[in-house]
C-alpha cells in the first residue's frame, strides 16, 4: 500500500488535472469568466444535442428506384454518344429501358461485335473481384442488352450518396458558417441536423428538389393531338408543364444543362416578377451562345426535374453566358431554386422519412432542471458517503467530484454531444460511480473485522475488490456498447456518457483514491481506522 511510486503519483495527478482542465471551458461557458480564460488553454466545449439546443433533424433516404432510373438514363446517353458519334459510327435504334435494362438494336448485324467491344470499354471494374458495373450481352444476335450488376448499382448509389451529402450541406449552409451536421448513415441515408431552426419546412423545400436543370429545344413539328396522348416524334419526348396545365414536346437532346452553371441568384425581371438569374461557365456559355444563335425565333424549354418551367422564345442570341429562368415563382421559391441550382443537382432523389423538431425553450428548461438535479444528486450522494465511511467517504467524495469533471472533460475532448438522456446518464453515473469505492471500503471493513492490521486490511481491500469491480463494470460496458451501436442521436449521447463514466469511475475509484489513501497512510501512520 505504501509503495505508491512517485511516477505513479505524477501519472495519476496529471491525468486528473488534464481531465479537469478540459472540463472548465464547458462549465464557464456563458459566464464572464469565459472571457478571461487564456486562449492557450484547451477551449473545446461540450456541444449540445439537438434535443437540448433546439432545432430540426431530418432523416433522408435515397429513392433507390429513382437512382436506378437515372443511372439507366445516363447510360443511355453515354451509349448513344459513343456509338452514334464515335468513329466509326454505328447505327442503333429501338432503344428501350424497360425492366431496368437498356436494350437496343444494332442496324447492321456485321457491326454487332464491334459495338459490344466498344460498350465493354465503357463499363468499369468494381473492386478487385473482376466484376464490372454493367453486364453487356447479345440477344437474338441483333440486340444488345446492358444490365446493371448488383455491385455496380451498389457502388453507384454509394457514390451518389457521398455527392448528395455534399450537395445537401451546400444547400442548407451555403456560406459554410452554421453548425449543421450532415452525415451519411448506412448505405442510403443522410442525417441532417440544424440547430436553431424551429420550422423544418424551409429546410425541406431546399432538400426536396433534385434541381436537375436542362435547356431543350421545343419540338415544333409535334402534332398537338399526339402530344396530348403523350406521344412525341422520334428524337423528342413529352414533358408536363410545371404548373400542371398541360404538356409539351421537346427535343431529347440537351442544349445546355445545370451542370454548366457557375452561379444562380434570385432576382427580378423587368416586370418585377421574381426570377432566378444564372451564370454559365465558359464552356456552357459558348454552347448556349451557339445554340441560341442557330435557333433564333424558336422557343426553348427550361426544364427542372423533368417538368417544364417555361418555354420562352429566343429573341436574339444569348452570348454573355447569363440567362434568366422565369416561372411562377414567389421570392421564396425563386430563392430556394437559386440555392439548389448553385449547389448542384442532387444525384438521387431524397425522401424525408423521419423528422424531429425541438423548440428552444424546452431545451433551456431541460438544461436548467438537469443542472439542478445533477448538483443536488451529487450533494446527496456525497452526504451519504460521508456519513457512511467518514474519512474514506471524503476520498470517495473526492473521487466522485473528479469523476464528474473528468466525464465532462473527456466529452469535450471528443467533442461528444450532451443530450437529454445524457443528463440522465450523468446523474446515474454519479450514483453508480461510488460503487467501486463502496466495494473497496466494504472490503476494508470486512478485512479489519477479520483481524487484519490497518495496512494489511487496506491492501487486501483494494486487491480483493478489484476483480468484482472489473466484472461488474464489464456488464455495463456490454449494455452501453450495444446501446451505442443500435441507438440513434439522443440515445447515443446517453450511451457515450455511460461508457465514459464507467472508465472514469473505475480510474478514479481505483487509482485516484488509492493514491490519496496511500499518501495519508504514509504521512500519518494511523493506529485505528474508522471505516
Amino acid at each position: 500500500m505504501l509503495d505508491f511510486p512517485r511516477w505513479k503519483i505524477w501519472a495519476v495527478s496529471l491525468t486528473v488535472a488534464i481531465g479537469i482542465l478540459f472540463a472548465v471551458p464547458s462549465l464557464i461557458a456563458g459566464t464572464p469568466l469565459a472571457q478571461n480564460w487564456p486562449s492557450w488553454l484547451p477551449n473545446a466545449k461540450i456541444s449540445l444535442g439537438l434535443d437540448l439546443s433546439g432545432g430540426s433533424q431530418l432523416l433522408l433516404e435515397a429513392d433507390a428506384a429513382d437512382a436506378a432510373k437515372q443511372r439507366l438514363a445516363a447510360m443511355e446517353d453515354t451509349v448513344a454518344t459513343e456509338l452514334r458519334r464515335g468513329d466509326p459510327k454505328i447505327e442503333v435504334g429501338d432503344i428501350s429501358t424497360a425492366g431496368g435494362r437498356l436494350s437496343f438494336l444494332v442496324r447492321d448485324p456485321t457491326e454487332l461485335d464491334a459495338a459490344v467491344e466498344r460498350l465493354r470499354t465503357l463499363t468499369q471494374p468494381i473492386g478487385l473481384t473482376g466484376s464490372r458495373d454493367w453486364d453487356v450481352s447479345v440477344v437474338d444476335s441483333t440486340r444488345i442488352v446492358l444490365t446493371p450488376t448488383q455491385s455496380g448499382s451498389a457502388k453507384a448509389l454509394k457514390d451518389a450518396m457521398t455527392v448528395a451529402r455534399d450537395v445537401v450541406r451546400r444547400r442548407i449552409d451555403p456560406q459554410g458558417t452554421k453548425e449543421v451536421t450532415v452525415i451519411n448513415q448506412g448505405d442510403r441515408r443522410i442525417l441532417v441536423q440544424v440547430p436553431g431552426v424551429e420550422d423544418p419546412e424551409a429546410l425541406k423545400s431546399l432538400i426536396g428538389q433534385t434541381a436537375r436543370l436542362e435547356f431543350k429545344l421545343v419540338d415544333l413539328t409535334a402534332d398537338p393531338q399526339q402530344v396530348l396522348q403523350g406521344r412525341a416524334p422520334p428524337g423528342s419526348q413529352v414533358l408536363p408543364l410545371a404548373d400542371g396545365t398541360g404538356a409539351m414536346a421537346v427535343k431529347r437532346r440537351v442544349m445546355v444543362s445545370g451542370d454548366q452553371l457557375t452561379d444562380a441568384k434570385q432576382s427580378f425581371d423587368q416586370d418585377g416578377r421574381p426570377v432566378v438569374s444564372i451564370t454559365f461557365n465558359s464552356a456552357g456559355a459558348r454552347r448556349f451562345g451557339r445554340v441560341t444563335q442557330e435557333n433564333v425565333n424558336k422557343p426553348f424549354a427550361i426544364i427542372l426535374d423533368e417538368k417544364i418551367l417555361s418555354a420562352p422564345n429566343i429573341n436574339e442570341p444569348i452570348l454573355g453566358g447569363q440567362a434568366q429562368i422565369s416561372g411562377n415563382f414567389t421570392v421564396q421559391s425563386a430563392n430556394a431554386l437559386a440555392i439548389s441550382l448553385a449547389s448542384g443537382k442532387l444525384p438521387v432523389k431524397l425522401n424525408v422519412i423521419e423528422e424531429r423538431t425541438v423548440g428552444p425553450d424546452l431545451g433551456k428548461d431541460s438544461i436548467r432542471k438537469g443542472a439542478i438535479a445533477s448538483v443536488v444528486a451529487t450533494l446527496a450522494v456525497i452526504l451519504f458517503m460521508l456519513i457512511t465511511y467518514g474519512r474514506f467517504g471524503v476520498y470517495a467524495t473526492a473521487a466522485l467530484i473528479v469523476n464528474a469533471l473528468m466525464i465532462l472533460g473527456i466529452m469535450a475532448i471528443f467533442n461528444a454531444s450532451l443530450t437529454l438522456p445524457g443528463i440522465a446518464g450523468f446523474v446515474l453515473t454519479i450514483g453508480a460511480a461510488v460503487d467501486a469505492n463502496v466495494l473497496i471500503n466494504e472490503r476494508i471493513r470486512e478485512e479489519q473485522r477479520r483481524g487484519r492490521k490497518i495496512l494489511d486490511a487496506i491492501e487486501t481491500g483494494y486487491k480483493e475488490a478489484s476483480t468484482a469491480i472489473f466484472d461488474a463494470n464489464i456488464t455495463n460496458v456490454i449494455a452501453a456498447v450495444l446501446m451505442w451501436y443500435f441507438g440513434s442521436g439522443p440515445i447515443r449521447g446517453f450511451a457515450v456518457v455511460l461508457m465514459i463514466g464507467i472508465v472514469t469511475s473505475v480510474f478514479t475509484a481505483v487509482n485516484f483514491t488509492r493514491m490519496l489513501v496511500a499518501l495519508w497512510v504514509r504521512r500519518k501512520r494511523p493506529k485505528v481506522l474508522y471505516i
Binding site: 450514483g431 453508480a432 471493513r445 473485522r449 466484472d471 450495444l482
Partner: protein, 316 residues
C-alpha cells in the same frame, strides 16, 4: 466519529430459507407482467408505431375536452391527447396521415396554426414525424439490442465464471426486463426510444449486484471447500449485503433527485431505471443466487478439470 452502518457487522440472515417462496412470487410476478403486456399491451410512442407527435406547453391550465374536440375538428384522423409532466404540457398524437409526406407536413402545420389561434402564447415544444418504415426499424433494433445485451452479458458471465452462473444471469435479466415491461403496461406510460435505453441500462446495472455476489460466491467456493452450497450462498450474501445496500441506495438517491427535480421529458427513462435498480437488487439476492443451488453448483466447480484428475492418484 460514529459512522452510519446501514447493515450491522457480521449479519447472519438466512436468505436461502425463503428461496422457494421468493421463487413462486417471482414466477407469478413475471408471468403476470408478460400476461399484462400480452393483453393490455404497451403504449408505444411514435418512435415505434410511426405517426406524429406534437408536444405543447400552454400558458395556463386548459380544458382537455375542448382541446380534444378542437384537434378532432381538424379531421386528421384518430388523435390522442395526453398530459405529460404537469397540467400545462400536453402531447397530441396523430396517426400516420394517408397521402405521404406532404400530408404529414400539412397536418403538423394545421395543428400548429390551430394552437396559435385558439391558445395565444402556447408554445410548441417539439414535433416528431416518424414514417412507418423507420418506426419498424427502430422497434426491431430496440428489441435486438436488448436481446443481444442480455445474451452478451450472460455469455461473458459464463466465460468468467461457470455455465450455471451464465444461466443465472440470463434468468435474472429476463425477470428484470419482464417486470419493467409489466410496469409500463400497467401504468400505460409511453414507451419510446428513451425507454429502450432505460431497459439496456437496467440490463447493465441490475447485473452489477449479481456479479458482485457471484464474485464472492466464487471466492468462498474456493476458500471453503467443505461447506454445503446453501450456507455458502447465505454467507456470501451476508458478506456483500452492506455493499449491495450502500450502492443501490446511492444510485436510487441520485435517480430519486432526478425524478423530482429533473426534466419532465426523461421521466419515463428515469422511473424505469429507478424501478429496475430496485428490482435488480431483489433479483440479485433471490433469483441469481438460488438458481445456483438448483443448477447444482458444487464447491469443486471452480477447480480446473486437470486439478481434479491430478488430485486422484495422490489420494490413491
Amino acid at each position: 466519529m460514529k459512522l452510519l452502518k446501514l447493515v450491522p457487522d457480521n449479519t447472519n440472515l438466512d436468505f436461502m430459507r425463503w428461496r422457494n417462496i421468493a421463487l413462486v412470487l417471482s414466477i407469478i410476478a413475471t408471468v403476470a407482467s408478460l400476461a399484462l403486456v400480452g393483453t393490455r399491451g404497451l403504449n408505444l410512442g411514435v418512435d415505434f408505431v410511426g405517426g406524429q407527435m406534437i408536444r405543447t406547453t400552454f400558458t395556463q391550465a386548459i380544458d382537455v375536452d375542448q382541446l380534444r374536440s378542437r384537434v378532432g375538428g381538424l379531421n386528421l384522423g384518430d388523435a390522442s391527447i395526453q398530459e405529460t409532466g404537469g397540467p400545462k404540457t400536453y402531447q397530441i398524437r396523430l396517426p400516420k396521415p394517408e397521402g405521404g409526406e406532404a400530408a404529414a407536413n400539412r397536418a403538423a402545420s394545421r395543428v400548429r396554426a390551430m394552437l396559435e389561434q385558439q391558445y395565444p402564447g402556447a408554445r410548441v415544444d417539439a414535433v416528431e414525424t416518424v414514417s412507418g418504415k423507420v418506426s419498424q426499424e427502430l422497434a426491431t433494433d430496440g428489441a435486438l439490442a436488448i436481446t443481444l445485451a442480455m445474451l452478451g452479458i450472460a455469455i461473458y458471465i459464463w466465460l468468467r465464471f461457470e455455465w450455471q452462473f451464465g444461466v443465472g444471469a440470463l434468468v435474472t435479466l429476463f425477470h428484470d426486463v419482464s417486470m419493467t415491461l409489466g410496469f409500463f403496461s400497467l401504468t400505460q406510460l409511453q414507451v419510446d426510444l428513451n425507454v429502450v435505453a432505460a431497459i439496456l441500462t437496467i440490463v447493465g446495472y441490475s447485473l452489477n449486484d449479481t456479479v458482485v455476489i457471484y464474485d464472492r460466491i466464487r471466492e468462498n467456493l474456493r476458500k471453503y471447500r467443505k461447506m454445503a452450497i446453501v450456507p455458502l450462498l447465505n454467507l456470501s450474501l451476508n458478506e456483500t449485503l452492506s455493499r449491495t445496500m450502500v450502492t443501490s441506495l446511492s444510485i436510487l438517491l441520485a435517480l430519486g433527485v432526478l425524478l423530482l427535480l429533473g426534466p419532465d421529458v426523461i421521466f419515463g427513462l428515469t422511473i424505469a431505471v429507478f424501478l429496475g435498480i430496485f428490482v435488480g437488487t431483489y433479483s440479485s439476492i433471490y433469483i441469481s443466487s438460488p438458481i445456483l443451488v438448483w443448477l447444482g453448483v458444487k464447491p469443486d466447480s471452480f477447480l480446473r478439470a486437470e486439478d481434479r484428475e491430478g488430485a486422484q492418484p495422490e489420494v490413491a
